[in-house]
Symmetry: C2
Subunit: 212 residues, 2 copies
């Protein structure tokens, strides 16, 4: 699969300022995220990331145990951005209505997937899920979960949603939101770039209605 790179190698990887106190770590994460965005996670290479930054490919091992750990750090960063975007979108509604707030969170979630498909795939890829996970990622997933759950609970407390002590209503919302994000990212449903938000509102609106 790894198509041979062009024969002509750049004359010299211009030596950058030396990295210290964690700069290299940051630089590696950023480079990895950029490469993944360009070629996908399967084609991502530790050596290419190092090359881009201008350090020896072994330098990464000072900051990450292995390739998987660097990818985990990229996923972590993605979860932080996703959570932040969801909070921002929720706050942007200025509404106290849990239905409106859930839709806002869903818009952020789906938009993130649509705009950063490869990043989203790393975040929900096999290495970081399916058990034997990375604690830092698990913590962020839990945080995102609670963000939504608070709205679902609020809806029940206000009497907008049918009361239910179990996780089913929350899982229904999360599943629909995650599935919609996946379908959009896979271009299995195709919705024009600017209309993602409107689609989310329509489709998630139906799901949220099922909680009443």
């Amino acid at each position: 699969m790894p198509a041979q790179r062009p024969r002509q190698r750049p004359p010299r990887p211009r030596p950058r300022a030396t990295y210290h106190h964690g700069d290299l770590r940051r630089a590696l994460i950023d480079a990895a995220a950029a490469i993944i965005g360009e070629v996908g996670a399967e084609a991502f290479t530790l050596r290419e990331a190092s090359r881009r930054i201008g350090v020896n490919h072994r330098a990464a091992y000072r900051h990450f145990a292995d390739k998987a750990s660097l990818l985990a750090a990229v996923a972590e960063q993605g979860f932080r951005e996703l959570i932040e975007a969801a909070r921002r979108e929720i706050a942007g509604t200025g509404a106290a209505d849990p239905e409106a707030r859930l839709l806002a969170a869903a818009r952020a979630y789906v938009q993130f997937a649509a705009r950063h498909p490869a990043h989203f795939r790393v975040m929900f890829g096999p290495r970081l899920n399916e058990g034997g996970n990375v604690a830092a990622v698990d913590a962020l997933v839990a945080e995102a979960y609670r963000l939504l759950e608070a709205e679902v609970r609020a809806g029940m407390d206000r009497g907008s949603f049918a009361p239910d002590a179990g996780p089913h209503p929350m899982v229904a919302v999360w599943a629909a939101m995650h599935g919609l994000a996946s379908l959009v990212l896979m271009k299995r449903v195709d919705v024009p770039e600017g209309r993602v938000g409107a689609w989310v509102d329509r489709i998630m609106g139906r799901v949220v209605r099922g909680l009443r």
Copy 2:
């Protein structure tokens, strides 16, 4: 990532019967599916598949253009099994009620993901989706789509679901089902092996109710 395989190589890859008229093709697909099930798609290797069958690693190129094509064939096979399972489960209900039939299809979908997580991931992975797809896979996805869509339409015709000419109701169902399958496969919701069907009924029940 590719952990060095154990130093000790099996004494001799026992020479099997020679493969002709497409036997090797089948054997490769089966071996690939088996390996993926054991170690995941990222760790899957063309050379290992050939090794297992007992042929030179170059033999695969007689039947597949490259590694991606073999994986596409594995995905195709998976879609065929998934569709068959859904039909079987739908028929098993013996019901004409579209809600019950949709839940049956969803059970098959989620069960498949829970039982064959790596296979499911290949089927919905970047190479076969996100545009520039494989025609054979697209055709099977379309077939699966129509399977569900027929039930959604039937529900509208009977007056169980609110009429809607657009794709939104169908997308809502598909998204929820796909998302639930993903969450279960990722063990992000954990439901005991034997209780997957019951969970699907509860959660998808809420979503389907949103179509009324």
